[in-house]
Symmetry: C2
Subunit: 496 residues, 2 copies
């Protein structure tokens, strides 16, 4: 049968080049069974006329389809659907008659969906004032060199790195670079057996939580602190002690007796941005030794230190193997990469590696190899440098705008970072505030989820400047101040 040119039209669901879209139309028609083996394709001239494209575009698409055996070319007779073209098996998919008879809520105990989680709207990039934390800024990212490294990692020479099942192993190139170049910046010396790659810091903290805690183990976490930790520890069944932080981060003396594991973000405390002073770091390490606890150090943002020199990591002071160090490329490259690492004694890494293999095997090889190139060619350092300069300008603009608008900073740290920790007048509910501002194109992060749920204040919030252009800062801050003033006037009067 000859397929008429009218069987094809470039509908809106397709994207890509014209050649790709024609290829897709033909391949879809064949796989779906609309075009059958040995059917004759329209002439390139006829199809070009029908689609309003050049004849050469159609010819190139056809040639491409011959290469992958969708079509065969019979010289001057034209193109035909190949007799061995891919086919989709056809089953009867009757009218959908699914009536779920299993009570999954009861059967699963809903043990996981209850955990609170930081969330940003999926369409955050379309907001005019996105004071949100942790996404990549297209205006700062070195897209061109990332692409170049990714293309290199797609080359024939890297076929194994791209396609292999590594089981529980990692890309030796990336491990080597981390050992030789990243860890020395934190004052850390380590061997390959002491490093494990993870799917971002989230996965690293999850692995640490699973390996180090279980029912009967006591874990100390910072209040306020990284919200996902709560979910991670709820899953392991550890007993959780919330320890209030001050302007120097976690005070070692406040850690209750009997704690087995301490989670801390010493270098840039999340969310207050406090940097733990060196004296306190030493005291924490000494306390770990004297009281026999292990420290999980979340070093997620050390690169963004532009106001003062960064301090060495807790891990660099560790002489007894008590520190499990977590690093991440989410803030310095981009979070969609899902790449981080753990540095810890071999006995720990062995367990974490086995658990990672059981749950997911390894981060995709292509991602690892691309990062290795991006780092080793110096693009990473150049990018971090550029981000630091931009963040410094934005931070300055934020500071000025917030002062002018009378917003109150609760924590800003002294070394840099990418956010301010803010406090609104008592009685202002920042979750309601965030909903109101959302309608005005302003995204802020309410602070409640960072606190011990038993005593969470509702008037804190976080303002990040990692994705907002400097020119919009003053206007956005002004809208926030107006929103707070409105909320402050309307807040419920406390019964006396």
């Amino acid at each position: 049968m000859a397929i008429p040119p009218e069987a094809f039209f470039l509908h809106g669901n397709l994207n890509g080049t014209l050649q790709q879209r024609i290829r897709q139309l033909v391949a879809e028609g064949i796989v779906a069974g609309r075009f059958r083996a040995c059917d004759k394709m329209p002439s390139s001239r006829g199809l070009a006329a029908q689609l309003g494209v050049s004849r050469i575009t159609v010819t190139l698409a056809y040639t491409d389809l011959v290469a992958s055996d969708y079509l065969t070319s019979k010289g001057r007779s034209g193109y035909f659907v190949s007799a061995s073209a891919p086919l989709q098996p056809e089953f009867e998919v009757g009218p959908r008659a699914l009536a779920v008879q299993v009570d999954y809520a009861q059967r699963t105990g809903q043990r996981f969906s209850g955990a609170e989680m930081l969330r940003r709207p999926a369409d955050w990039a379309s907001f005019r004032y996105p004071f949100i934390y942790g996404q990549a800024d297209a205006s700062l990212f070195d897209h061109q060199n990332w692409r170049q490294c990714a293309v290199r990692a797609l080359g024939k020479r890297d076929f194994e790195a791209l396609t292999s099942d590594y089981y529980d192993r990692d890309d030796p190139l990336l491990i080597e670079y981390i050992l030789r170049n990243i860890l020395p910046r934190r004052g850390i010396e380590a061997t390959g057996a002491e490093v494990l790659l993870t799917m971002g810091a989230q996965n690293a903290l999850w692995l640490a939580g699973q390996v180090l805690t279980r029912p009967g183990v006591r874990a100390a976490v910072e209040n306020p602190g990284y919200p996902s930790l709560r979910g991670i520890l709820a899953q392991t069944g550890a007993a959780v002690d919330w320890v209030d932080v001050d302007e120097g981060g976690l005070p070692p003396d406040a850690i209750p007796a009997g704690v087995n594991v301490v989670f801390t973000s010493a270098s840039h405390h999340c969310p207050t941005n406090a940097t733990m002073p060196m004296a306190r770091r030493r005291a924490l390490i000494e306390a770990a030794s004297a009281r026999d606890f292990v420290i999980v150090e979340d070093d997620y943002e050390f690169e963004m230190s532009f106001l003062k020199a960064v301090s060495p990591a807790l891990k660099s002071l560790d002489r007894e193997g008590r520190v499990v160090h977590v690093g991440s490329f989410s803030k310095s490259i981009f979070p969609g990469l899902r790449l981080g690492y753990i540095v810890a004694p071999e006995g720990f890494i062995r367990e974490a590696r086995a658990l990672r293999a059981l749950t997911l095997r390894h981060p995709p090889g292509h991602i690892q190899r691309t990062a290795a190139y991006f780092l080793s060619l110096g693009h990473y350092d150049a990018l971090v440098n550029r981000m630091k300069q931009a963040f410094k300008r934005r931070r300055l603009a934020m500071g000025e705008a917030m002062e002018a608008a009378g917003l109150q900073v609760a924590g800003q740290g002294g070394v840099g970072g990418s956010s301010f920790w803010m406090v609104a007048p008592e009685g202002v509910d920042t979750e309601a505030l965030a909903r109101g501002l959302h309608a005005q194109g302003v995204l802020i992060e309410p602070g409640r989820v960072f606190f011990d749920p038993a005593r969470a204040p509702r008037n804190y919030y976080r303002l990040a400047y990692s994705t907002i252009p400097v020119g919009r800062i003053a206007e956005g801050v002004g809208l926030i101040a107006a929103g707070i003033a409105r909320a402050d006037r309307c807040k419920p009067v406390r019964p006396v």
Copy 2:
């Protein structure tokens, strides 16, 4: 200070183009602090002479380094290290004085490292006869089109898909393609809320194990069956019932009373390749309904059906929401991708999604988007088609060679796949056999790990043909037969 050209040499640790290697030399020297701000670089002529490369190569590398602020150009005076070049903070990393004082074996309970795991040597590709399962074959993979799709997914338009933290979400393009084009091939109709992407089938099975089982829950697994399931269930604390399979896979009648969850690889049983007949599939679904259990269907290899038409998935027969369906792109694209999916009722997906977010958030966006393009342009179907044709030829060659050599097949299934399940004479230990063959360049997979450890025979093994060229099959099979003959002669005489 002027840096002399002699400070540079192209040592063996570098790879990439000459321009990239020069860039790396300079960037590393700056970041490491060997070259300081305002140092003068060698002239392009001088450095070109030192390195034995063309002057334009050096100039291009310099220009590139200026763009990322490692160097500045001062017109005719030449190139200088930029005053704002990236710098590595320097800490004293004293001589390593780590004396681990924490007993991690005791503290972690070594709960994870004990699990048995399939392993292949990292250098399997350098073996002449790699009868191993589950790696990608460079001679079959459509590298060019994969690269093209990956490059497209690296474009400006896909910046968000590449870089975003999706939290618990997935790429809508890939989900849509799976819903519209992959699932219908298995007879499955589903909605977006019923699909979750995973880091391969391993991650999917792990999520299913975590969500559906815990202490007090009884899970049935196939004997023999997929080895990692044992580790996954050991972690959840479920009670495990091993059910012996026959030539039709898992017999529903043999599932003990009181079981809550049944794990099965119905379409291509792992490792025997048995395909469950339709009548048995219906009986299994009916048993699930009558006895109120849930089925986890591992449909990891349905694409490789080239001898007979593939049967619809168990999931397609499921009217009560009792089947959790697991699919994977590891066999049909490549395992290093780490991409698979779960199709299940919303109540299940909600829990699995929350758990995935807690453990790793989401598979990297770039991987998802590249797969979406590769699928939607028809490259996937073309690739699967090509693999099927090659596997068919290899399977034929395997069958002939094994018959000629007198090897005994224990399970081959009727639809295709990529391996044979083999049995050696009783008393032959295939783990010792594998070690002996390893020295001769032959890789085979001993079968013990597939069995219930309490009663695992030692004379089974698996021979896969997914990565071995057809021309080497007869020779490799000959070596295996000779190895078995040797082992059979030397086997310990059983005491009477």
